[in-house]
């Protein structure tokens, strides 16, 4: 099964890059030679560009930061979501940003156009605290989630480690 693990975010924006850091960690520990069908990468792209990146894979694991309002967030809390969860939370399918569409809209567009979109979609999201300040170091609770999510993904995908 052609699989893509993709860490999303900005690695120089404190907690924003938690997904990228998890992807880096996986790259370090996973025995890639044992998994010729696996690609691990990072991106700071949204909607269309992200959709374009994941076309052609059977299975995609997205790792992303998850920001709630200050009083609702539990930094470091890990969520495992499906594509339907994303669909559920973007009810209007309208563009969610000034210069892109939502991933769900982009995938629906690809589907309508006859592109093969990945059948298997796994999303790991880590609740974060600080996404407005430039730093390469995540806050402690978020940093602590990095090995946890790394192990979860290794377990879920039955990956061989080095």
């Amino acid at each position: 099964m052609k699989t893509l693990i993709i860490g999303l975010g900005n690695p120089i924006l404190t907690d924003d890059g938690v997904g990228v850091k998890i992807a880096h960690q996986l790259e370090k520990v996973v025995d890639l030679s044992a998994h010729p069908d696996l690609t691990i990468t990072e991106a700071s792209a949204g909607g269309l560009r992200l959709m374009e990146t994941i076309l052609g894979y059977d299975r995609v694991v997205l790792i992303d930061a998850y920001y709630l309002k200050q009083d609702q967030t539990t930094p470091g809390k890990i969520h495992r979501l499906s594509l339907d969860d994303l669909r559920f939370v973007s009810p209007t399918q309208h563009s969610t940003s000034a210069h892109d569409t939502s991933l769900v809209t982009a995938l629906d567009a690809a589907d309508q156009l006859g592109y093969q979109i990945p059948q298997d979609f796994i999303i790991y999201a880590v609740e974060v605290e600080n996404i407005l300040e430039f730093s390469e170091t995540p806050t402690p609770a978020v940093a602590a989630a990095i090995p946890k999510v790394t192990s979860e993904i290794i377990k879920e995908l039955s990956l061989k480690t080095r």
Binding site: L8, A45, D64, P91, Q93, S95, A98, H99, L113, L132
Partner: protein, 495 residues
Amino acid sequence: MERITIDPITRLEGHGKIEIFLDKKGNVENAYLQIPELRGFEQFSIGRPAEEMPRITNRICGVCPEAHHMAATKALDALFDVEPASVVKKLRELFYSSFYVTDHTVHFYALGAPDFVLGPDSDPATRNILGVIHKVGVDIGIQVIECRKRNHEVIKMLGGRGIHPVAGLPGGWSKAMTAEEQKIILEYAKQNVDFALFSLKIFDDIVLANQAYVDLIVSDTFTHETYYMGTVDDNNLVNFYDGLIRVTGPDGKELVKYPAKDYAKHIAERVEPWSYLKFPYLKNVGWNGFVDGVDSGVYCATPLSRLNASDGMATPKAQEYFDRFYETLGSKKSNGRYAPVHHRLATHWARLIELLYAAERMLELTEDPEITDPNVRPIMTNTPTEGIGSVEAPRGTLTHHYKTDENGILTDVNLIVGTTNNNAPIAMSIKKAAEGLIKGGKVSEGILNMVEMAFRNYDPCMSCATHSLPGQMPLEIQIRDAEGNLIETRSQYVD
């Protein structure tokens, strides 16, 4: 179930929160697009080697990393006082033109076109790229995806990496182009020209052939008479990569033309008590509030601005469309220049003309025999002190300014990002759209669509300002009374 708020996409873009302030009578007094402010970029950069900036600053933004990469690289040229070889300039401009093709494509098809293809009054649930595909046909969608795909391939080929390019060096470019790459890119560039012409045809068929849309474009609601900024070449023709920054007035007269290094002499920033955004304005005209006219230092830096600030396009087909643009919108030519078009919605058309120019320019540069010259990496010998570089980002003039110690370690960093230039005109456009729909404290239906159209044409990118994560609404309008109390919130999402 409670509405959760995960969408890996909003993360990159921030949320378009509009704040509208009413006066005592309940009419619109001020309006602005709120963009969360990122903090600490300067501190983050200080103490690092300046050569890292092209790779660091392209991380600021997920939408136009290529623009930051290029502005940073040009700032390094200046910092190390090294003049890039002709082939280096050409490779950079080629890379940058390919980026422009992708960026303008996504804006038109995914963001601009839905308002026209589906209609400004259509249901927000269908007013998106899916609606466009549904109405105009699957073939268009495939062309859009294919266009982006081949240009991303070019960006990767020339820039060294797919999303965050790494090729920019002081005075150089890390990788020469092979003859094989040239052949591939040549084919892609030709396809881009066809695609741009096809896109302009769609604009003709859907927008210009429909009198109601033409009326909307030229309506007073979407018209502002301001100064315009854009980079021009030696012949005063539009250039995205290099040249002098030219500012022309609402009357079409040139106010000033200056090299990027002089930006601080010409641009100042206004701070307002009701917003943490800074509003850049023309220093030599002065700040006279959020108003139109020759006495107001408000300027705009968009595709429309670049066309208005220039005398034309440097490629033949784009020039034909340039003429048609001004003729169609009733502009008269005097002393070799068209009078500016002030209709903000015409920016969508201007963007497509720029798309065609970028495609044609890409073709010209690829055909240039010098483009495969392998001498792309100069030796630097000068001691760095200070450097300023600028390019035209798709959404406005982008300036990077660095100071270093004698070892090239950064001591000071200042960036003026594309969208920031347009903070004041965006506020004015939102205000004007809102004024028609808020009277005596009463808010009419349709305000979201009108306000969205008012700011959408500027293609504001909030990524430079934030990577706000899931949980934000795509568009939220907050209306506050004269005392600043929140009296009403409207948003695009349905619960």
